[in-house]
Symmetry: C2
Subunit: 123 residues, 2 copies
DNA sequence: CTAGAACCTCACATGGATGTCAGAGGCAAA
DNA sequence: TTTGCCTCTGACATCCATGTGAGGTTCTAG
């Protein structure tokens, strides 16, 4: 498929897909005229890249991790694996933090609801 | 306390503290000479602001929500409360997404470890 | 009183992912 | 073959939290 279709199917802009390629995150084969072509495989790959971006990883970091994810068959250096473990832990900490933040929002909302109930009862 | 101490205690730069004030997120009293002064209360407030930033909220959104959090006593409009509920849900979705991403990283790491074990056994 | 640290405002810089535009070429349907 | 949409590269624009530096004032310790 061409880039427009991949963009439509992943809901990622054409601009971003080209950027991913530039950053070494996404590969494409080129037709004789230079147009990019992709397979089904790239649909999932783009979605995964998006997940990693959403997890706060930079292009640079993603580029370091993707080879590991792609092929456990390669000589993925200890360093790369350690890097992955490190990002994994960072992410886990971040999740815990977000859960606390969500709890704080829940508390605030509960406080407001209680107050409203009080107002209604009094008013 | 003055801005430097607040910065040290919250591990947020002086620059950012001034920015928060500019965005209406943080209040300060000014001494006669114009220096900002803060109380213990602001320490927690800054930490909370940081949590919200980390949760992906923009200054604008935080500014909309903070009054609600501050005082359930005010006439926090239905709109503001709805906004908070909406951000809360967005955050919750985001957390679920991050957990899936963490799982994916765990899978990748497990795959690598298995592969290594195989290599060791064979080599 | 003085030196040095901390503070003030203003303003420009930065980084990273993405938007947008221009100019040119590719491809498919009428 | 023409019309219209898709794609290409390249470059500049944008957003937003934060960094940074200049030029000046304030505070505090010696």
């Amino acid at each position: 498929m061409r880039i427009g279709e991949l963009a439509a199917r992943t809901e990622v802009s054409v601009r971003s897909l080209r950027y991913y390629e530039e950053q070494g995150l996404l590969a494409s084969t080129r037709s004789a005229s230079g147009q990019r072509h992709y397979t089904e495989y790239e649909v999932e790959r783009v979605r995964f890249i998006q997940r990693l971006y959403a997890a706060g990883l930079s292009s640079r970091t993603i580029a370091e991790l993707l080879p590991c994810v792609d092929s456990p068959s390669e000589e993925n250096s200890d360093a790369a694996l350690e890097r992955m473990a490190q990002e994994r832990d960072r992410l886990s900490d971040h999740i815990a933090d977000l859960i606390r933040t969500r709890d704080a929002l829940d508390d605030a909302m509960a406080g407001n609801r209680r107050h409203r109930a009080t107002l209604r009862a009094a008013g």
